[in-house]
């Protein structure tokens, strides 16, 4: 259907984006790869020397590495589950007739506007703090022992904070998708006497499939590199209970200014992220066709 002419034009139009990203990718990436083979500490300039795969060896044999790997997957998975289930629910709710719909929408969307550092500080200090936090006050009010979220459920707490930030995004995307749903089709299904659940399962959910795919992909990208929330709340601890790969790379590169190890960690993270992306695409990529 497409002519050669438009094909050529297509190439031409796509090229600025591709070239720019290629540059953005290749220049720092090749520098990073190069650094990853060096013994290069920012604080000892002029002492760089080639050390082969040592940086990779140390990064991959770091006992924290596998914990961090697991935590990264749990964090991404946990937040995705919460935001997608919650997002579908919220989108369905907000799609109903009600008074003050606009105001409710903005209330729901609002957390997305809050900078990650701010939301982490607010949650940590004003809510989860076991002495002065609101949750502790609520627990005491009900005669319960306040729960120490960040010490005893650090990863869960971080998942909660991050999910709070991303729930609006999922809701937003799903709500827009929901509104393009063919209402006549729904009405027809209603006429046929299809039960609510069946209507949801056979009509609404398939319609949302692509939006869900978009949510999963975009969120995964951001969730793989969650960092500020961890730094502010738990510093990756206690132990390595809330250290993810990004935080581990931070420990190496910015705290220790060991550019070599940090670079090796960065490369490992890219490889891992691409593996995740590969499986993700195989699982849900078909939703993007059509």
């Amino acid at each position: 259907m497409a002519t050669d002419h438009s094909r050529l034009a297509g190439r031409f139009m796509i090229s600025p984006a591709v070239l720019l990203l290629l540059g953005w990718m290749i220049v720092p990436l090749s520098m990073t790869i190069y650094f990853s083979f060096l013994n290069y500490n920012l604080l000892s300039p002029g002492m760089e020397e080639f050390i082969g795969l040592t940086n990779y060896e140390f990064f991959l044999t770091d006992p924290a590495f596998f914990d961090a790997l697991g935590n990264t997957l749990l964090l991404v998975g946990g937040v995705l589950v919460i935001t997608i289930i919650g997002g579908v629910g919220l989108a369905l709710l907000l799609d109903q007739p009600m008074w003050g719909q606009g105001i409710v929408r903005i209330l729901v969307i609002a957390p997305f506007f809050v900078m990650p550092t701010v939301s982490a500080l607010v949650w940590k200090n004003m809510f989860m703090n076991p002495v002065n936090g609101l949750f502790a006050h609520a627990a005491k009010f009900m005669g319960l022992e306040p729960f120490d979220f960040l010490a005893h459920a650090p990863l869960f707490s971080i998942i909660l904070i991050v999910a709070w930030q991303w729930l609006p995004f999922a809701t937003l995307i799903l709500l827009t998708a929901l509104q393009s749903l063919d209402k006549e089709q729904l009405e027809a299904a209603k006429m046929d006497g299809a039960r609510k659940f069946r209507r949801f399962y056979y009509i609404v959910l398939p319609h949302l499939a692509r939006a869900i795919t978009v949510v999963i992909l975009i969120q995964t990208i951001f969730l793989l590199s969650v960092f500020a929330e961890i730094l502010v709340t738990t510093n990756g601890g206690p132990g390595t209970a809330s250290t993810n790969i990004t935080y581990l790379v931070y420990l190496q590169s910015l705290l220790q200014f060991d550019v070599g190890s940090g670079s090796a960690g960065g490369i490992v993270a890219v490889v891992l992220a691409n593996i995740v992306a590969f499986f993700l695409m195989r699982m849900i990529g078909k939703n993007l066709e059509a």
Partner: protein, 276 residues
Amino acid sequence: MARKSFNMNKVYFTVAAWAVGLLIFFPILWTILTSFKTEAEAIASPPLFLGFDWTLENYAEVQERSDYFRHFWNSVVISLGSTLVGLLIAIPAAWSMAFVPGRRTKDVLMWMLSTKMLPPVGVLVPIYLIFRDTGLLDTRTGLVIVLTLINLPIIVWMLYTYFKEIPGEILEAARMDGAGLWSEIVHVLTPMAVPGIASTLLLNIILAWNEAFWTLNLTAATAAPLTAFIASYSSPEGLFYAKLSAASTMAIAPILVMGWFSQKQLVRGLTFGAVK
């Protein structure tokens, strides 16, 4: 009868939606309330909801200490600039991917996304060195460039999915009418894609507004946006909840207001009423 039950439903839904909405919004509301307390009231036990002496002293102090307006203006320029430049590059790319897909289109798309997965901490040093050598450190131009590049994959992606929704027949029809490529984009595609573009634009402004790693690490004084402003209020020595709350409120207020005015646009995004 039917009408009555409809109204009852509306009541139920209203109550449920407001309850959920307020619950989700509560942390922000709490931050705003705290910004009007004194530091001692901010950590009072039991917590004070409304019964405290409302004060503006936190705002006064924040204003005295930092040049809020400059940070705000930097944030506006950087997030708007990077979004517009990004859209300019991304619209043609997404167009061609959606309507003239090649065999490798999906791979290219996937690859673009994967550039986003480079953890920023891992590449800070190379980027910093490049910025130093090109004189881009602490300039708004530099930040616009970086934020454009890191958000470009997302923009291309979202636009691609939106464009995909536009039925090809309409473009075919336009082509039959002898519309050139350019006018096809300008007169046929763009109007239909406006909601999608608008919501991409808004989402991207938000992402750029909240980006806190590059904006902090590549600026000093001149180009520092609101993220740097916030960084000067988080965890100093001494009590800081109230001042942090005031600064946070000031940092999120503009984007919250923008969201307020544009939420219809944001939500409409994918609705191609005219098409269907």
